[in-house]
Amino acid sequence: MRKLILAPIMATAVMASAAAPAQDTVKIGLIQPLTGSVAYNGTADANGARLAVKERNAAGGVLGKQVELIIEDGQCSPANSVNAAEKLIQRDRVVALVGAFCSSATSAVMPVARKYKTPFLTGVSSEASLTEKGNPYFFRSAETDALLGKAFSRLIVDNLGLKKVAYIGVNDDWGRGSAKAFEQELSGHGVETAMIEYFNHGATDFYTLLTKLRGSGADGVFVAAETQDGSTLVKQIKQFGIDMDVFGVGSWATSDFIKITGDAAEGIYAAVPYVSNLPGERNERFVKDYSAAYDHAPGKYAAAGYNSLNIMMDAIDRAGGTDASAIVDGLHATDYEAPNGRYRFTRDGQGYGFDAALVQIRDGHTDVVATTRIADPRADGAKDGQ
């Protein structure tokens, strides 16, 4: 009886001591949802991250050592992501953490990173308040909903000439945040709001929502949804015979999205921080390498994973060692040439300076209509905490 209970504890202790640091590599931990309903996007992010590490190692690694990327499944659940973070920091002794994807999971990992003084970078989580918590170890190389809304509202008004817009978002922090941010920005440009509605992740039938949309008198509809929900929604908008300009945020400008959505994708607009046919030699190289590795062009989340790992590896190189505060300084000094522009960080750790694109899907391809830069949020005298 007692033996039976002790055995796993012993095994645990033995395994833990066996994993004690033998630092001939630089270890970076990545937490992504690899199972569950967001696994599709989490896998894309992890693929981008793997490519970044492979390239860096081929070029000699960082600090003269090879980089070892340890990927853990956080399932976008706060508790599981904390488990993964504890394991990565305490058992694998990673020098830095990247990830957690969903803002809720990232939010739960942040205090862990702070407690263990481990630099933590997210390339995805968009909940605005994350960078306002005064956590010195936390950085975000992604746009917040508000920054994206601000960057695109002018473009959308100019390019689409909309007067009255309906807003539809997936019922999570990101969908709600995006719908609110775009509604606020577009209202600021004199665009009327026809309706704001949310739907649950995994919903399949949108006819009720579309009936409301048809009755709302909008001339354009904004959609915040990921590939799965978004493609179903866009298909049903076309089936329903609704003839409105559709524009959205999410991983829309990808070959998968176009393949799944088919003809219904024609003519829709997407506001994305990354699309594979952005101009520039740096992006061409990334797309070529990514396609060679995974047989399809990278989308928003693949680029996010690629960029966040590169930013972290640059910072470790710049730190000249694996000391946490040196890496934090290294992150603050970031000036990273990404496939989609140059990343820098504010004092709060919010990324800016990179490009985002308004694309239209035409003939099964993405056309870049315009690009814009995610501006330094301090430029208009807004918050500058800490």
């Binding site: 796993p8 499944d73 508790a79 305490q90 809720s104 308040s129 019922n171």
Partner: protein, 327 residues
């Protein structure tokens, strides 16, 4: 009874020494999660093991506890020693209401109605943005003030002993319940409702007491979860937690006090150590769950008790073994 009590004491002593012997914070973290799940599994076991009804809505009480503690801490600034007991009380109050409705049903109907309650609460938590902050969740739940200057290791030890205290309270209450007239009446109801009624036991009353006690303990666990993880979102009401709890109770052996503890220990360690297998992890976990149902139908405790019965040297203890019978 003696065997069960002695084993519990030994387990308790091992647990008391554990944080002092182990300096690895990851192991301590796993230890804390094991204890959190031990409280949850013990509370669920009161319903599954002693009322004999299969609740799939027990996360309702975990979630209510977690949200209560998080809201009291964030909105009113109450300290953890107040929020965690209050979390238990609020869950118990909901337990009275939900139990009064659901315990009138039996079998699959009970399974589904409890699940429906948990889902309704999850959807409310996810959509009532003004009160629960909706899908954005409640972040930054304060840790106890005395940890302000503590090192991470000390904080981990503190949380470990706090969780151990909660586990001890849960086991004590469960033990008192099981070995009281209440518990014996509940077991009689579980084994044969009609006989129980004929000797004057009112099944509903006893089932209700077990249900409310279970809700209270799950609420305590929820309160602890809120302060330890520091983030509470609607997923605390979700089916994933429910699946973990139910697997722990049934793998350990329902209707015994030690079974759920063993289940919590095994399943938590298993899910953490299967991480080594990366993608294969959850497929394998599913297979293990199926294998346990097929080869250990009464859980680990059922298996151990069976072994002890066949082993004559333990026969004296075996006579007083916990009442884990087939459903």
């Amino acid at each position: 009874m003696k065997f069960e009590r002695n084993t519990l004491l030994v387990l308790g002593l091992i647990a008391l020494a554990f944080p002092l012997l182990v300096g690895n914070q990851y192991l301590l973290h796993i230890g804390i999660m094991v204890l959190l799940y031990a409280v949850l599994a013990t509370s669920l076991n009161l319903i599954v093991g002693y009322v004999g009804e299969f609740s799939l809505g027990h996360t309702a009480f975990l979630g209510l506890g977690a949200y209560t503690a998080a809201l009291l801490s964030l909105r009113l600034g109450l300290p953890a020693w107040a929020t965690i007991p209050l979390a238990g009380v609020v869950s118990a109050l909901f337990g009275v209401v939900i139990g009064a409705i659901t315990l009138r049903l039996r079998g699959p109907y009970f399974v589904i109605i409890t699940l429906a309650f948990a889902e309704v609460l999850r959807l409310i938590a996810n959509n009532w943005v003004d009160f629960t902050n909706g899908p954005m969740g409640l972040s930054g739940v304060a840790q106890p003030a005395l940890l302000a200057d503590a090192s991470p290791l000390m904080a981990k030890r503190f949380y470990f002993y706090l969780a151990l205290g909660l586990t001890a309270v849960s086991l004590y209450l469960a033990y008192r319940f099981v070995y009281s007239n209440n518990g014996r009446a509940a077991v009689t109801v579980r084994e044969n409702r009609f006989v129980a009624q004929s000797v004057g036991i009112r099944p509903f009353v006893y089932a209700m007491r077990a249900f409310v006690l279970g809700a209270f303990l799950a609420g305590l666990a929820g309160g602890f979860y809120a302060h330890y993880i520091t983030f509470v979102g609607a997923n605390v009401f979700g089916f994933a937690f429910m699946v973990s709890m139910i697997i722990m109770v049934l793998i350990g052996g329902k209707g015994t006090l030690i079974g759920p503890l063993l289940g919590a220990l095994l399943v938590t360690l298993l899910t953490e150590y299967l991480r080594e297998l990366q993608e294969l992890r959850l497929s394998l976990f599913g297979l293990i769950v199926m294998a346990v149902v097929l080869f250990l139908p009464n859980g680990l405790m059922g298996f151990l008790n069976h072994r002890r019965e066949r082993n004559p040297s333990d026969a004296a203890d075996g006579a007083a073994r916990a009442q884990g019978g087939p459903a």
